[in-house]
């Protein structure tokens, strides 16, 4: 998976991406495809929210529609525990073509933290 963002994003890779994101909303999938094609960082927030939604308890999903969600705590507000977080990271790696070490997740507590972390990753990788 390392540095797969550098590799050509061909039709086959797009198919794989759509397959791994198939339980996410259509908007999430399109944003991820666009991100992989163009590297447009404006897509990242849509992708993050879509991935969070996919791993959240359906009862808690409406929280993502609230204003100012950046301060929401991943565990206490969204119910995503550390293990689910690792699951989500795997999907982030696959969909955005990034590599994340589990140790880097320390200190990530809120949605805003995730956005900043992924945006930083996307810039450096």
């Amino acid at each position: 998976m390392s540095n797969s963002s550098a590799a050509a994003f061909n039709a086959e890779a797009e198919q794989t991406l759509r397959e791994s994101l198939k339980r996410c909303s259509p908007a999430t999938i399109e944003a991820a495809v666009k991100f992989r094609q163009t590297g447009d960082p404006a897509q990242i927030n849509t992708i993050i929210l879509g991935l969070l939604e996919r791993f959240m308890d359906p009862d808690l999903r409406p929280k993502l529609l609230e204003p100012n969600i950046d301060d929401l705590n991943i565990l206490s507000d969204l119910g995503i525990d550390s293990l689910t977080m690792v699951e989500m990271v795997m999907l982030v790696e696959e969909s955005l073509g990034l590599t994340v070490d589990n140790n880097e997740l320390r200190g990530i507590k809120t949605i805003g933290d995730i956005k900043r972390f992924v945006a930083g990753k996307a810039k450096t990788q």
Partner: protein, 299 residues
């Protein structure tokens, strides 16, 4: 080992070949003649299946004809080891190849045979040797134990684990599922796939598994895209298959499916297990990361 016959098939050799295959179907004979005159491996599957069919109990032949690479030579077709020797001798003679007994032991299904013959004729490297795991070893390795063990034998490759579960009929849960109508619960099907994935994590050689996995620290985490396609009852022999899609400590993600003979029974697009190593690695989890497990154990 394998020397293609470059000389044309003499009338005498053709006569011998026809004689040798006289109890095989006409298309088998035709395919064999085609192969021997042209060395074209395209029709070789027909030859090999035709030879196997010749040695089968007539009642079992439709099973072979129905196809399916998952058909097991011993369990599904009833070919014992002595008959297997006869099949091998005839295949050797007809295709003019030599099959050694070591390699023969790894061939358990019709699919294995096809792949093996094709590799030999095309000079390709043989597929990775599967590791066969006997029931006693499964019991020794897995945390799940009878009466809640649903993998009775298994073969492991780097990219796949296959297992077998025969529904005996005396399983405790069949008494109530259902009343006077024993049907294997779908939850047990998923459990069986989960157990096979556990076996994979404990036994398979895989670069991402950097140290031995702790059998007491594997738990079922998630399952997506599940569909059951066939009702299974006592006497059914289920073939379980799981393929690792991604392994990244502390998670392993698999896809799985179950068949019974040539019929599809169930599939799960994703089964995710969490695991930890026997020797806890460096301070990776000082922040409590892989420890906060909230899921139910497989079993």
């Amino acid at each position: 080992m394998f020397e293609p016959v470059s000389n044309p098939l003499t009338p005498e050799a053709e006569q011998n070949l026809r004689e040798l295959l006289k109890r095989c179907s006409p298309e088998t004979v035709a395919a064999a003649l085609h192969f021997r005159t042209t060395n074209d491996p395209a029709g070789v599957d027909i030859v090999v299946l035709g030879i196997i069919e010749r040695f089968l109990d007539p009642e079992v032949r439709p099973r072979l004809r129905a196809g399916g690479d998952g058909l097991r030579i011993f369990d599904d077709l009833g070919i014992d080891s002595l008959t297997m020797v006869e099949v091998v001798m005839m295949v050797e003679e007809v295709l003019q190849i030599k099959i050694n007994n070591e390699e023969l032991r790894d061939l358990r299904t019709i699919g294995d045979i096809k792949v093996y013959i094709n590799c030999r004729l095309k000079g390709l490297p043989l597929p990775e040797r599967p590791v066969y795991v006997h029931v006693a070893e499964i019991v020794a390795l897995l945390p799940q134990q009878p009466p809640f063990l649903f993998v009775q034998e298994a073969t492991l490759r780097t990219d796949e684990a296959r297992g077998v579960y025969k529904i005996a009929g005396d399983e405790f849960f069949l008494e109530g599922h259902f009343k006077n109508n024993p049907v294997l619960p779908a939850s047990i099907m998923l459990e069986a796939l989960g157990q096979l994935a556990v076996l994979y994590l404990l036994k398979a050689k895989r670069a991402e598994l950097t140290s031995p996995v702790n059998p007491a620290k594997i738990f079922f985490t998630a399952c997506d895209g599940v569909r059951c396609q066939r009702v299974c009852r006592p006497g059914d022999i289920l073939t379980l298959v799981v393929k690792p899609k991604r392994i990244k400590h502390p998670l392993g993600r698999f896809q799985g499916h179950i068949t019974c003979g040539t019929e599809r029974v169930a599939y799960a697009e994703e089964i995710t297990l969490t695991f930890d190593y026997l020797a806890t690695e460096a301070p990776a989890s000082s922040d409590g990361q892989p420890e906060n497990i909230t899921s139910a154990q497989t079993g």
